[in-house]
């Protein structure tokens, strides 16, 4: 491609709305263009990279699944059938945009954010017998999600490209076997993206679907929205949401027990402020939250100051299907105090109290006094409050925490989820009453799995991973072009080189503009094409070659350049 034929030149400045590295650089280099927050057009160069990413995904997926192309519009009834029409909090719907359109067709549709609701009844129409399974299908498609914030460029979009695969099995064991195979397929894909070394498989929540973990493929990158907790000795990695966590010890075992006292601290609610006021460490404070369950029961959950309560963990521990923070009225009724002064001491018997393990092994700690503006200090287990039969782990894990099983400190890193695989088990087959007939003609439970990768997000992650201060940097086989040809003498030589390279099957981007050398070099760095080839009066018969990631240049012949740039097989 000649630069002159690309209508979308690089731009000097980008909107201050674009705060992420990938959005900034990709916009500046005109690979993408934001249309509205979280919605990006792919311009010619960006589309070339996206196509290469999708081609690799397709090649690997073709080995284990059959490609289809499902629709974005779905009838409401299938989403009602699983109940997810009300619970998927990024789901979008459509209707006619004006009166004339609504008059033409008054049906409203759901805009699929994921395709379990589509693929399950689809496969159900075709597959009935044990002979028909296992089945694996996939698609690469545009998805729509009503994301609340969209500030991370291609890492989280409202409209984005997705590869989603779904599998159907006669048994949990067969699902597991396919699921394990998919782990290998996924790692191969990320290796081919140049992300193999920086991508780990993390355990994540199985959602409502299962008590098993799901698995996320997480690329370690500073811009990542996820936090991973890695156990080096076990080669284990947890997403923060499921990381079992043990708070580091306080080393206060030698402390002498001090007398229990109520201290007035008007309006002291935040633990940092309170600790300062009481002249104790934050770790000596206790945060006690009251929740109402779906049955109207009130429970108290206490964590050491500095931690947050992980409601998902707490739900599993308490057996509640939903938890909401107790209202001010309920707090008042239960504790006798305004919000902010609850503590585990002297609560009514009707309130079940749960203690996080971070609250154990402390001496002379603080609790809310259940009296407005008052805090009880120098609380001690057994002396002031009975030691509970069991301490739990329902805090949000944080840096410094230990993996309970080995007691070693987690390595904590930021990462971006580039893929996930999910054992759906029977969640959707049950919702659609999808069974198969076994050898005896008896209906049997069907098992499903789903498997996602976001090609457009991957593109953003590759930028976050590889780009430097001068601009984009692409792995060779994903770059929009292999050679960035610059002609400083405006001679016929560049045309010959361009033609020869193209005939040799090498993808060339030729900056044929009448522009300053400095501008062309800066653009070459910005665009990130692997080989910069400069022709000028100085280079004579040769070509000055520079790789994007090294600073040295060298003179090569055209033949040498061709050999260097041969497409990788």
């Amino acid at each position: 491609m000649k630069y002159s034929k690309n209508p979308f030149k690089t731009v000097k400045t980008v909107s201050s709305e674009l705060v992420s590295k990938n959005a900034k650089l990709l916009t500046q280099a005109s690979y993408i263009h934001q249309e509205v927050a979280g919605v990006y057009t792919f311009l010619p160069l960006g589309l070339r990279v996206l196509n290469k990413i999708e081609k690799i995904i397709r090649e690997e997926m073709d080995k284990v699944a059959t490609e289809v192309y499902m629709t974005s519009l779905a009838p409401r009834k299938i989403w009602e059938q699983t109940g997810r029409i009300d619970t998927v909090d990024v789901l979008m719907k459509t209707e006619g945009a004006n009166a004339a359109s609504q008059a033409k067709n008054s049906t409203g549709y759901i805009l699929n954010s994921t395709h379990e609701e589509m693929v399950t009844p689809l496969v159900q129409e075709f597959a009935h017998s044990y002979k028909d399974f296992p089945i694996g299908v996939y698609q690469i498609q545009t998805k729509f999600r009503n994301e609340p914030r969209a500030k991370t460029g291609l890492l989280r979009c409202r409209e984005f490209r997705m590869k989603d695969a779904y599998s159907f099995h006669r048994s949990a064991a067969d699902l597991q076997s396919y699921y394990d195979q998919m782990k290998t397929v996924y790692m191969t894909i990320f290796e081919r993206m140049g992300l193999g070394e920086s991508t780990v498989m993390a355990l994540a929540s199985g959602g409502d679907f299962t008590t098993d973990y799901s698995h996320e493929f997480q690329t370690i990158v500073d811009a990542g929205e996820d936090t991973l907790f890695i156990v080096k000795s076990k080669n284990l990695c947890f997403n923060r949401e499921v990381a079992p966590s043990q708070a580091p010890a306080l080393n206060d075992t030698q402390e002498e027990l001090k007398p229990l006292t109520d201290v007035e601290g008007v309006g002291m609610i935040g633990v940092d402020e309170l600790a300062k006021f009481l002249n104790i460490t934050v770790e000596k404070t206790t945060k006690t939250l009251l929740f109402e369950t779906e049955k109207g029961e009130v429970i108290a959950a206490a964590v050491r100051g500095g931690y947050d309560v992980d409601e998902e963990k707490l739900k599993k521990i308490t057996g509640a299907s939903s938890l909401k923070l107790a209202s001010a009225e309920v707090v008042k009724k239960v504790t006798g105090a305004e919000v902010g002064y609850a503590g585990p001491l002297n609560l009514p018997d009707s309130v079940r109290v749960f203690f996080d393990e971070s609250t154990s092994n402390r001496k002379n700690f603080e609790c809310g006094a259940n009296k407005t503006n008052f805090h009880t200090v120098n609380v001690n287990w057994d002396r002031d409050i009975p030691m509970p039969e069991k301490f739990y782990d329902f805090k949000v894990a944080k840096e410094g925490d230990l993996y309970p099983e080995t007691g070693e400190a987690y390595q904590v890193v930021k990462a971006c989820e580039v893929g996930n695989i999910f054992p759906l088990h029977t969640k959707f087959s049950k919702a659609f009453d999808f069974t198969y007939l076994d050898e005896q003609g008896k209906p049997q439970t069907l098992y499903m799995g789903c498997y996602g990768i976001g090609p457009s997000r991957l593109l953003g992650v590759i930028v976050e991973k590889y780009a430097d201060e001068k601009g984009l940097v692409w792995p060779k086989h994903l770059a929009p072009f292999t050679v960035h040809l610059i002609d400083l003498q405006q001679s016929e030589k560049a045309q010959q080189i361009y033609d020869t390279l193209q005939s040799a099957g090498i993808e060339v981007f030729w900056d044929d503009r009448d522009a300053r050398a400095g501008e062309k070099f800066a653009d070459a760095d910005l665009l990130g094409i692997p080989y910069r080839a400069v022709v000028s009066a100085k280079t004579g018969d040769k070509i000055e070659l520079k790789e994007r990631t090294v600073s040295e240049t060298k003179l090569v012949t055209l033949e040498e350049l061709i050999v260097l740039c041969q497409p990788q097989s």
Copy 2:
């Protein structure tokens, strides 16, 4: 692909909702699957054909435009800027599907039905100078349109694939030159689809954008929703909506003038019923419709019985920007009669009366009497009603009509629009205030064109064109596979042939099921793969080859089969 690996087997019966040939056959052969009316999933075989169609379109479009990938979601404001948010009667919009989703992001989006509103401000950001033009960009993408009815399978869908291109020019002449080039590109595409001989370029309305015609590429096919009027001697073709039409003469010039009479015919409104009642031909009746313009003016439009009024033609003639049928109250006020008895005689002077040319050259004709239940018969020009200064053409053309310029009868055919090209002129550049700076630095008017082809519709048209009573028939280079291999002896031979053909780069579909020969043969006919290759005990070393469109079989060697099936370059 092995049949056993395709989860989507052929089906015996399809929903009675699927009435079109393409929807029926493609569903039965499991190329597509309807999710909701007008919304089709592409199953593996259908996707392979769709991909081949899109590849051909891409190859030809790459010669004249640069590929991008714009988004489906658009901010409302760009559609408000052109005013089309209220007028595009197939436009859809989105919002959160549930309360949680709406709380996360309350922004509503437009789901682009076409991309002029996207591409114009996009290109405007990048192109400013006369040096930047011409620009041609295109994309291949899923589009959403809230079509009122969706009964023709892939010919008219609510979600469908579309190639849309947009061009930007410094002058009307440059637009015209690119536009003419696009005609050639389009015909090449349709030729490569195997539709060259049956596809014609028809003149169609330029819409509000222009007084020029737009051009439709219409494939002549019985299932087509469009009616074309062809002037053989001129090699001209009109879409019905713009066909200039002259009604055939009545041959009543020798008739003697009969006395003008009012006849009571209670409730006689329809012209067929009326003609029968009056014992005259339908052509002697007159249909007079009253319209109100946007200014509140009432006009009368009279056509010969048997014709309908084309409101678009009438709008241009009357200069009205909108016309609506007059209400019963207005009709009563103007004619003194109930609806159904209006006629051009004795209307108030305030009502402008327009006569279609089909009402001229008649003797002793009928008109509504402007009196409830009464009709005036034996009306004659000049004797009873002044001959108007001018007769117009505002009727809907119909079979039997003549092309006015040559007086020859139109050839009338049904056709399906497979592409259209549209001179947008300054409609969108003006809406977005998009100008360019000329050599003198002065802002100048920018001209645009747009160019569409529907790949999924094309797939449906190819089925309508080629399928026979046994099933689908594919042009060789569009077929999902080239060879349909059937093994009747379940030997290792089939595996060898399968492997050898695949190694030779030939796409093979191998029916490896344990099924009856008759079932396999019927499926082969249904799927429509060009070459059926049968291996059985009877065929010995050879392979029994049958082309889908011929009934004879012949025995060939594997080498001969490979030569026959080599991919066309």
